[in-house]
C-alpha cells in the first residue's frame, strides 16, 4: 500500500494533539455554550486528523472511520445546537454557569 507523505505523519500527530488540547481547555474553561460546543467540534476534528495521519501508516481503515466521525458530528451538531437554542429560549442566556438544575 502506497505511503504518500510519510514525513508528515509526525507533524500531523503533533498538530492534532495541540488542537485536541486547545479543545479540552476551551471546554473546561469557557462558559459560553456556543464556544464550548465549537471546542467539542475542534476535539473531534483533532481526532479525525489523527485517524487520517495514522491511516497513512496502517491502511485506509483510519480514513473510513473519519467519515463515520464526520457524519456523527453533523448529527451531534444538529442536536447540540437545538439544545443550546432551547436553553436560550428558557433562560435568555447560554452561560453554562446558570445551567445548574442538576445541583444536588
Amino acid at each position: 500500500m502506497p505511503v504518500f507523505a510519510p514525513g508528515l505523519v509526525g507533524p500531523a500527530l503533533l498538530l492534532s494533539a495541540v488542537l485536541f488540547c486547545i479543545g479540552v481547555a476551551g471546554v473546561l474553561l469557557r462558559r459560553n455554550a456556543i464556544i464550548v460546543f465549537l471546542c467539542i467540534e475542534l476535539m473531534l476534528n483533532a481526532v479525525n486528523l489523527t485517524f487520517v495521519a495514522v491511516g497513512q501508516l496502517y491502511g485506509m481503515s483510519g480514513q473510513v472511520i473519519v467519515f463515520f466521525v464526520m457524519s456523527v458530528a453533523a448529527a451531534e451538531a444538529a442536536v447540540g445546537l437545538a439544545i443550546v437554542l432551547s436553553v436560550f429560549r428558557h433562560r435568555a442566556t447560554v452561560d453554562l454557569k446558570h445551567a445548574n438544575l442538576l445541583q444536588g
Binding site: 471546554v27 473546561l28 474553561l29 462558559r31 445548574n100 444536588g104
Partner: protein, 672 residues
C-alpha cells in the same frame, strides 16, 4: 388347613384393594364442602340442594366405610394396610407420603365419625333449616368430616396433623358460626388460641421423635421405638409429655380445657358432632395410636391418667351447678374425656377407645336431645317475642309431656352415662375404673386415680339426673303464654335420636365382658394395633371377687347418684332464671367454674397483654424494629445520599474535569 393358608393372602389382597376406595370417603365430604361453599356464596337460598348434598355426601362416605369394613373385617390383619396416595414431603432423609393407614383402630374411628356424623347431619337439616347461613353451615360441617377422616386415616404424625389442624379450623369456624354476636366470635378465637398451645406440644413431640427414632410413620414407630429408646427413657418421656400437651388442648383436659365450655356458642349439632363425639376424642385416638410410646414411658402414662382423673372430678363438680343445659353437657364431656384419658393412661387402651365409642353414642344423643329441647324452647319464645334464655334449665321443667320422644331418649342416655347396669356407658366406664384399680397394685398412685374416678362417677350421675329433673320433670316454668307452643321436634330430628338411642342402649355389645357372657369383641378386634404396647406394659384387669366388688361399687355409686340427683333437684324450689337469686357459698364457686377463667385471665392473659403492649409493642416493635430497623435504614440511606449529593454541583465544568481526570487515570492504568 391348607385351604385357609392359601385363602389368606388372597383375601388380604382383596381387603387391600377394597381399602383403596377410602380416598372416596374423604373426597366425598370435601366435594360436599366445595359445592355447599359455592352455594353459600352464590345461591344461599337454595336450601333443598344443600339438604340433599350435605347429609348425602356423609351417607356416601359411610357407605364406603361400611364396604371397606366388610372387606377388611373378614380378614385378620396383623399389619395395617397402607394406602399410598402421593408423595407429600421430601427433604433430606425426611420422606413423608400422603398415605392412609387402614387397620382395626382407624376402622372403628371411621365408623364412629361417618356413622354418628351422618345422623348429626340429618338432624341438622331440621335444626338449622330456618337459619340464613344454612349452606355455609353444611359446607363447614362437610369440611370438618373430611378433616376428621384425614386425622383418623393418616399413617404418620404429619398427615394426622393435617387433619388435626383442619378440624381445629372447622371447630373455630363453627363455634363462631353466628359471628354477628361478639361473644360467639370470641369463643371461637379462644378455642383456636388455646388449641395453638397444644399444637405447639404436638410439633415439639414430632421433632423429638424424628430426632430420636428417625421416622414419623406410625407403623415404623411401632416397630422401631422400643429399640431406638432403649436406655433413653428421658427422651421418650419428654416426647410423650409434649404429645400429652397436644392432647390436653384438643381433648379439653386440664390445663387447657377452658375452651370447650365456651365452644357451646356454636349450633347445638356442632356441639354434638365436634365438641362431644368426634374431634375432642382425637387426643384419645392419638394416644391409642402411639400406644407403644406411652408403654415405654410409664411416667407419662401416669401423668396422663392423673390429668384424666383430675379433669374428670373437676369438670363433674362444675357440672353440678350449671344452669345452661349445654354447659352441663359441655362439662360432662370434659369429665368423660377425662375418663378416657384415665383409661389409656392406665394402659387400658381398649377401655379408652370403648368409652370413646359409647360416649360418642350417648353424648351425641344428649346434645341432639338438648338441641331438640332448645329448638322447642326457642320456638316458643320466638312465638311470644320473649327474650328469655331458651337454654336455661330454670326456664324449662315438665317438658316430658310436650316432648315424650326426646324425654325417653335423653333419659336413656342419662342412664347410660351414669353407668346404669347393662347400658353402654356402664360397661365402658366400669372397664376403665377396673383397669385403673388393677394398675394400683403395682403403682399405688392409681388407687387415688380410681377413687377420683369413682367420685366423678357419683357427680356424673347426680348432675345428669339434675338435668333430666329440671328439664323434663316437675311443673313447667317456661311461662303461661309460651307453654302451648312447646312441641316435639320434626321426624328428621327425632329419627337420628332414635338410632342413637338404640346405639346408646346396645353399645355395650361391642365389648361385652366375660362376666355377662361376652367375648370382648372390641378387645380381640383391636389386639393387632395394641400389640406393641401390650408387649411392654399390658393392660391389667381384676379378676374374681375383686372384679365383682368393683362392679358392685360402680353400680351402687351410679344408682345412688341418680337417686340423689333426682331427690335433691325435685325437692329444691326452682324459680325461672329471671327471678333467681344469686348463688352463695361453695355453690357460687362452682357456678363460676372455680374462677379458672378469671385465674387464667389474671395469671396468663393480662400479664401477656401487658408484656406485649409495653415491651413487645412499644419497645421492641416501635423502638427496635421501627426505630432502628425500618426508619434506621432509611435514615442511613438519606445520610449517605446527602454526602453523595455534595458532588452534584450542577456545573458542567466540574463534571468535565472529573470526567477528564477519570479518563486520564484509565489511560494511565491501561498504558502502564
Amino acid at each position: 388347613m391348607l385351604a385357609t393358608l392359601q385363602a389368606a393372602p388372597q383375601s388380604i389382597a382383596t381387603a387391600a384393594s377394597a381399602a383403596r376406595w377410602l380416598w372416596l370417603a374423604v373426597a366425598l365430604p370435601l366435594a360436599g364442602f366445595l359445592i355447599n361453599g359455592a352455594i353459600a356464596f352464590w345461591q344461599p337460598q337454595a336450601k333443598r340442594a344443600v339438604s340433599l348434598i350435605g347429609p348425602g355426601v356423609l351417607l356416601g362416605a359411610f357407605a364406603v366405610v361400611l364396604y371397606v369394613a366388610k372387606s377388611v373385617g373378614g380378614v385378620h390383619l396383623e399389619a395395617p394396610i397402607i394406602v399410598r396416595l402421593w408423595d407429600w414431603i421430601g427433604a433430606g432423609d425426611l420422606r413423608i407420603p400422603l398415605a392412609f393407614q387402614v387397620d382395626q383402630l382407624s376402622l372403628v374411628m371411621l365408623m364412629i365419625v361417618t356413622g354418628v356424623g351422618s345422623l348429626i347431619h340429618l338432624f341438622s337439616v331440621g335444626y338449622m333449616h330456618h337459619d340464613a347461613g344454612y349452606a355455609r353451615y353444611f359446607a363447614y360441617l362437610n369440611l370438618f368430616v373430611a378433616n376428621m377422616l384425614v386425622l383418623v386415616l393418616g399413617d404418620s404424625l404429619p398427615v394426622l396433623f393435617i387433619g388435626w389442624e383442619g378440624v381445629g379450623l372447622c371447630s373455630y369456624l363453627l363455634i363462631g358460626f353466628w359471628y354477628q354476636d361478639k361473644a360467639n366470635a370470641d369463643a371461637g378465637k379462644k378455642a383456636f388460641i388455646v388449641n395453638r398451645i397444644g399444637d405447639f406440644g404436638f410439633l415439639v413431640a414430632m421433632f423429638i421423635l424424628w430426632y430420636a427414632v428417625g421416622t414419623l410413620s406410625f407403623r415404623e414407630l411401632a416397630v422401631m421405638a422400643a429399640g431406638a429408646f432403649e436406655g433413653h427413657t428421658a427422651l421418650v418421656t419428654a416426647a410423650t409429655l409434649f404429645l400429652i400437651l397436644g392432647c390436653t388442648g384438643k381433648s379439653a383436659q386440664i390445663p387447657l380445657y377452658t375452651w370447650l365450655p365456651d365452644a357451646m356458642a356454636g349450633p347445638t349439632p356442632v356441639s354434638a358432632l365436634i365438641h362431644a363425639a368426634t374431634m375432642v376424642t382425637a387426643g384419645v385416638y392419638l394416644v391409642a395410636r402411639t400406644n407403644v410410646l406411652f408403654a415405654l414411658a410409664p411416667f407419662s402414662s401416669m401423668v396422663l391418667a392423673g390429668i384424666g382423673a383430675a379433669t374428670a372430678i373437676f369438670a363433674a363438680t362444675i357440672g353440678l351447678r350449671q344452669y345452661d343445659i349445654k354447659k352441663v353437657l359441655a362439662y360432662s364431656t370434659v369429665s368423660q374425656l377425662g375418663y378416657m384419658f384415665l383409661g389409656v393412661g392406665s394402659g387400658a387402651y381398649v377401655a379408652g377407645v370403648f368409652h370413646l365409642m359409647t360416649h360418642a353414642f350417648f353424648k351425641a344423643l344428649l346434645f341432639l336431645g338438648s338441641g331438640s329441647v332448645i329448638h322447642a324452647m326457642h320456638h316458643a319464645y320466638h312465638e311470644t317475642h320473649s327474650h328469655d334464655d331458651p337454654q336455661d334449665m330454670r326456664n324449662m321443667g315438665g317438658l316430658r309431656k310436650a316432648m315424650p320422644v326426646t324425654f325417653v331418649l335423653m333419659l336413656l342416655a342419662t342412664l347410660a352415662i351414669a353407668g346404669f347396669p347393662l347400658l353402654s356407658g356402664f360397661f365402658s366406664k366400669d372397664e376403665i375404673l377396673a383397669s385403673t384399680f388393677a394398675r394400683g397394685h403395682d403403682e399405688p398412685v392409681y388407687y387415688l386415680f380410681w377413687a377420683l374416678g369413682m367420685a366423678a362417677a357419683l357427680c356424673t350421675a347426680v348432675y345428669m339426673m339434675r338435668l333430666i329433673t329440671m328439664t323434663f320433670l316437675g311443673e313447667n316454668r317456661t311461662g303461661a303464654k309460651e307453654a302451648p307452643h312447646l312441641h316435639e321436634a320434626p321426624w328428621i330430628m327425632t329419627g337420628p335420636l332414635v338410632v342413637l338411642g338404640i346405639l346408646t342402649v346396645a353399645g355395650g355389645l361391642f365389648n361385652l365382658p366375660a362376666f355377662v357372657g361376652g367375648h370382648h369383641w372390641l378387645e380381640t378386634w383391636l389386639e393387632p394395633v395394641l400389640a406393641p404396647a401390650a408387649a411392654i406394659r399390658p393392660a391389667l384387669l381384676p379378676h374374681g371377687a375383686t372384679e365383682w366388688a368393683l362392679i358392685g361399687a360402680a353400680v351402687t355409686v351410679a344408682l345412688g347418684g341418680l337417686w340423689l340427683g333426682w331427690r335433691l333437684t325435685s325437692r329444691a324450689v326452682i324459680v325461672p332464671a329471671k327471678q333467681a337469686a344469686a348463688e352463695t357459698g361453695f355453690a357460687k364457686v362452682l357456678f363460676h367454674k372455680y374462677y379458672v377463667d378469671e385465674i387464667y385471665d389474671a395469671l396468663v392473659v393480662r400479664p401477656l397483654l401487658r408484656f406485649s403492649e409495653s415491651t413487645l409493642w412499644k419497645q421492641m416493635d416501635q423502638g427496635v424494629i421501627d426505630g432502628l430497623g425500618v426508619n434506621g435504614a432509611g435514615r442511613l440511606a438519606r445520610g449517605l445520599g446527602r454526602v453523595g449529593s455534595w458532588l452534584q454541583t450542577g456545573q458542567v465544568g466540574l463534571y468535565l474535569v472529573l470526567f477528564l481526570a477519570g479518563a486520564l487515570y484509565v489511560i494511565h492504568v491501561v498504558t502502564r
